[in-house]
């Protein structure tokens, strides 16, 4: 199985995630699309790790998992805080920074 298939698949997943980040307005769904982009990057790193027979890429993907988990925790915390303060859950409505 040639390695290009995996890379093209990862590019496709990244592009779908990018389109989702751009066209969706709900912050929860935008975070989900960020996960899609991260999984596309993880797939590319695992493909190169397999290509070179080197395990470093797998450790990198684990680090991506950790960063994604942290990002989810902070992002969803922000969503819950927005919901509590009656701020509409729509990124187009958030035009200014307020304390």
């Amino acid at each position: 199985m040639a390695i290009e298939w995996y890379l093209v698949l990862s590019a496709m997943l990244f592009s779908i995630g990018l389109a989702g980040v751009l066209i969706r307005r709900n912050p929860v769904v935008i975070l989900l699309c960020l996960e899609l982009m991260l999984s596309g990057g993880a797939l590319a790193m695992l493909a190169f790790s397999r290509l070179h027979g080197d395990g470093d890429g797998q450790v990198f993907v684990l680090m991506v998992l950790v960063v994604a988990a942290s990002e989810v925790v902070v992002g969803l915390g922000l969503v819950v805080a927005m919901f509590r303060r009656r701020i509409p859950l729509d990124v187009d409505e958030m035009k200014e920074l307020r304390g």
């Binding site: 590019a11 779908i16 509590r84 009656r86």
Partner: protein
């Protein structure tokens, strides 16, 4: 056999990804992402990354998605009109994504990777991708990254409590909403 498994997993992963973007209800989007991650874990298995695939299922599809489900249920299913606002992005978002995909595909397929592929991918040592191999790499070669990741997770946990925690002396929700409008 590997090709069949790859295309099966790829169709599932792409279908899940498209469903995440195109479904209107955020709750269904979360469930579609779970499907996507499970199929992607199968593709990880084809790349001899057993431990990553297991971690993907347990950590991502298990734990992280549960947080998403809770939050999506908490804020309620907000049925947003799919192609309603931000008309500029509505048009240019998919175009930009398609252009990026075509560009990366040209770069990948036009590179000399195919020359590498003709002689087959590298032979791997026995035990490649097992928890033992990954753990040995992580605790010997990448110890600083490992410790930094633990610190990052601690900071993220504290941040979640600070951001979403209910303040003890906060006014009841109705009054705080009025105060927010007044302020």
């Amino acid at each position: 056999m590997v090709e069949v498994a790859f295309f099966f997993g790829a169709i599932g992963a792409i279908g899940g990804a498209l469903a995440v973007v195109l479904l209107r209800n955020p709750f269904y989007s979360v469930l579609a992402l779970v499907v996507h991650l499970v199929f992607l874990a199968g593709i990880f298995l084809l790349l001899l990354s057993q431990f990553i695939a297991a971690a993907q299922i347990v950590v991502y599809a298990g734990a992280v998605m549960v947080i998403y489900v809770f939050v999506a249920a908490y804020v309620g299913g907000i049925e947003e009109p799919m192609f309603d606002a931000s008309p500029g992005l509505r048009v240019f978002g998919p175009i930009l994504a398609a252009a990026l995909f075509i560009e990366i595909s040209i770069a990948v397929l036009g590179s000399s990777l195919s020359a590498l592929g003709t002689e087959g991918v590298a032979k791997v040592q026995p035990g490649f991708g097992t928890p033992e191999a990954v753990g040995r790499l992580m605790l010997e070669d990448f110890l600083i990254a490992f410790e930094a990741a633990s610190l990052l997770l601690l900071v993220a946990a504290v941040a979640a409590i600070v951001l979403a925690g209910r303040k003890k002396d906060a006014a009841p929700p109705a009054e705080s909403a009025n105060a927010g409008e007044a302020g």
